[in-house]
């Protein structure tokens, strides 16, 4: 087990270097530069452009810029945004909890509904429930997030007034964030109705962001369950006379969960892509919108620093998933 953990942790080093290089180079491969964005339609003279590029250090040799970026990271300095003039790490710290909170809620929503729906569809293969739920899953998977979000806002916030339109919290509540997680901070604040407001603001974005992972998890669970249910050991368990609940819940489910956990891990990373749109629609102050704005402004420092921070987090999540495999499946840790 120790060797397994050590090998996984050591693997992080080349991954880290590779990602840092990609994060650094990716934004520079796009045409345009961060300085031109500062003046907007007004434009700037080529001389002033050169002067600012010099001042920001973007005219230095590319390897020099890369090593100073790495040097900064090792010293905990992810740079300062060219557009906002604020430190990248401070902005990330302020915004990441919002994205994480939304992602966790979306994933919980997807898992809590997706796994039981997948199991049930597999067990009742070919039934109306199976066909209906898998049909809905396909629709959910194909739904453009932007359209889905606006649709839900118009229906539930605009017409029915069941939920707020957007944001994380009713603006009448005002407290300094302690953890950055609104569900927790609203409880700590002790404000009457604050927690309820935080929950109600989470509902629509959670559904919108969770829809695609829900569809993927439900379909993955169903196909994994079907495969496992056809295995010899399941037949043996049934032949031994075990009750169906035990066969499905213990023997089949445990093995079927391995690909499902992989899917959940991958979907957690993919949530970032969905978060960009969801955050824009719901005025959700997270890192998705922040990164996309930085890319469109060619704010090199935010893009490279932000990508690196996201990558570090994804690496840690992947490590945890790898370790979870080992806990679930003894064959992996023996290998």
């Amino acid at each position: 087990m120790f060797r397994y953990i050590a090998s996984r942790v050591l693997l992080l080093i080349p991954t880290f270097i590779g990602i840092s290089f990609v994060a650094f180079i990716f934004i520079r491969l796009l045409p345009g530069d961060p300085v031109i964005a500062l003046a907007g339609e007004r434009g700037m003279t080529p001389e002033r452009h050169q002067l600012l590029m010099d001042q920001f250090g973007f005219n230095r040799p590319i390897w020099e810029q890369y090593f100073s970026f790495l040097w900064g990271i090792f010293h905990g300095d992810f740079g300062t945004s060219i557009a906002s003039k604020r430190p990248v790490l401070a902005d990330f710290r302020a915004l990441f909890p919002a994205t994480l909170e939304l992602s966790i809620c979306a994933m919980l929503f997807a898992v809590i509904i997706g796994i039981p729906a997948g199991i049930f569809a597999a067990v009742k293969r070919g039934s109306i429930f199976d066909q209906l739920s898998m049909g809905i899953a396909l629709v959910g998977y194909s739904m453009p997030i932007f359209w889905w979000g606006i649709l839900l806002i118009i229906l539930f916030a605009g017409i029915l007034h069941w939920t707020p339109v957007s944001g994380r919290m009713d603006l009448i509540y005002f407290f300094k964030p302690t953890t950055g997680f609104m569900l927790i901070d609203s409880l700590i604040s002790g404000g009457k109705g604050a927690f309820k407001s935080a929950v109600s603001h989470l509902i629509l974005p959670t559904i919108v962001l969770g829809t695609i992972p829900l569809a993927v998890i439900a379909r993955q669970t169903r196909s994994a369950m079907l495969e496992v249910l056809g295995e010899d050991y399941v037949r043996t368990a049934r032949a031994k006379g075990l009750e169906p609940k035990r066969v499905i819940g213990v023997h089949a489910l445990r093995n079927a969960m391995i690909p499902v956990i992989t899917t959940i891990g991958l979907q957690m990373g993919l949530l970032m892509a969905g978060a960009i749109l969801t955050e824009t629609i719901f005025s959700w102050p997270g890192i998705g919108k922040w990164m996309i704005d930085a890319i469109s402004r060619r704010d090199y420092v935010v893009v490279q620093g932000g990508l690196m921070l996201v990558a570090l987090i994804v690496m840690v999540v992947n490590l945890i998933v790898d370790l979870l495999y080992a806990v679930i499946n003894p064959r992996i840790r023996v290998k």
């Binding site: 600012l52 300062t80 003039k85 339109v165 300094k176």
Partner: protein
Amino acid sequence: MNTYKKLLAATALAMLTGGLMAGGAAAKTLVFCSEAAPGGFDPALYTGGETLDATGQAVFNKLVEFKPGTSEVEPALADSWTISDDGLEYTFKLHPGVKFQTTSYFTPSRELNADDVVFSFERQKEGSPWAKYVDGASYEYFEGMDFPKLIKSVEKVDDLTVKVTLTKPNAPMLANLAMDFSSIVSKEYADKLMADGTPGKLNEQPVGTGPFQFVDYQLNTAIRYEANPDYYKGKVKLDSLIFAVTPDAAVRVQKLKAGECQLTIYPDPADVEGLKADTNLNVIQEEGLNVSTLAYNTTQAPFDKPEVRKALNQAIDKKAIVDAVYLGQGTPAINPIPPTMWSYNKSIKDDEYNPEAAKAALEKAGVKDLSMKIWAMPVARPYMPNGRRTAELIQSDFAKVGVKAEIVTFDWQEYLKQASDPKHDGAVIIGWTGDNGDPDNFLATLLSCQAVNTSNRAAWCNQEFTDLINKAAVVSDPAERTKLYEEAQVVFKREAPWATLAHSLVTTAMTKNVSGYVPSPLGVHNFASVDVAE
């Protein structure tokens, strides 16, 4: 400190340190659904309207300001001023007794004086200790309005008198001084921050003399202000003001309808009719100080010939563009400046839409089988809601006169950069919203020889036009200036470096209980005169 101030400071402190404020406690609150988060809180460091609204308009004052709803300059922190006969010296008399805001993070010990004014400009100069007080600081408006070259000195004459000396006469100077980058900041506060080793706070926790004082900013979420009780024009009617950052236009409309905010801006043109039909809302539309254009690259054949450009202009059905792209919320543009701007030349007739005549004129100019590129801007702006759709309409108009147009587009930053390069290929859809209401801000910025390589996307350098514009910038007599600008517009129309497309209407929507809001033609949003009925 009187009791009221103590109470106010205590409230602000409690709010900042984790206390909870129920909205009901603040009697009159306006929630404004803004379109983007501010870059920071120093109005001199940014050019984006969202930052200027949150800083220069809410927190700060200038020596002179634009009269609400107009682009006329009126006294503000300066009660009066004199201009020397040679037009080089501006002497401003400051309003006595103006207090800087008392906040939880700063208590001023003195009133506004000439030192603050001198500091507010000196700090933006290269070489000042404040030139780089945060990483990446650059004063783009100060540079863009040519202040480093234009301003020789800003000096204190006495506590309430400031003298600004120019290197050459500049008629738009007063209008420039009314812009947000000319906001007067507290020198006492800046000195304290520098002494504390935390100069960056100048961009995080602003202190000004304006109608609202800063309370808190939750990154990319909301900015909170409360009324400045010491405001020199008297406390405003609102008790607090909140900017709720809401980037999506459709969501802003939904929030307004749901009562989550009371005022919003820039709805999609397609939503405007629905807003007007809502009996709970008021919609104000007014002509923006803007123009959208198709700028031909006048250095490239055959667009180097005025007769070819004029022929192409005749081929464009502007009314169709206003109907289809602006959904009727705009007017076809004749001149490069909008009709609401002084010196607009009403006598100029537009090139008539006439494909047959256009075709004949192209033939006469010897242009056959012309293939060209039309640049479609990839972002929506108040002056141009949909660059792609506009390009498609022009493409089909050009096809009718035998010109084959290919639509190209780039990412916005790249678009701006390449379009500024005189070597770019084809005609560029672009536009402009005025900064200060002076014709110079359109004509010199967009069409003079000195703007080639930057904001003159037609790369058009016509000496006759530039001489007129440059002369108009140095004479101080408004009548003479008007005459020069009118003449310049005649030259513009004759030479046709652009197809002037449209001037758009700017829409503001608010709930019925909001009163006193005056939209600015300059595209900024100011809430000093707003009231909310309970």
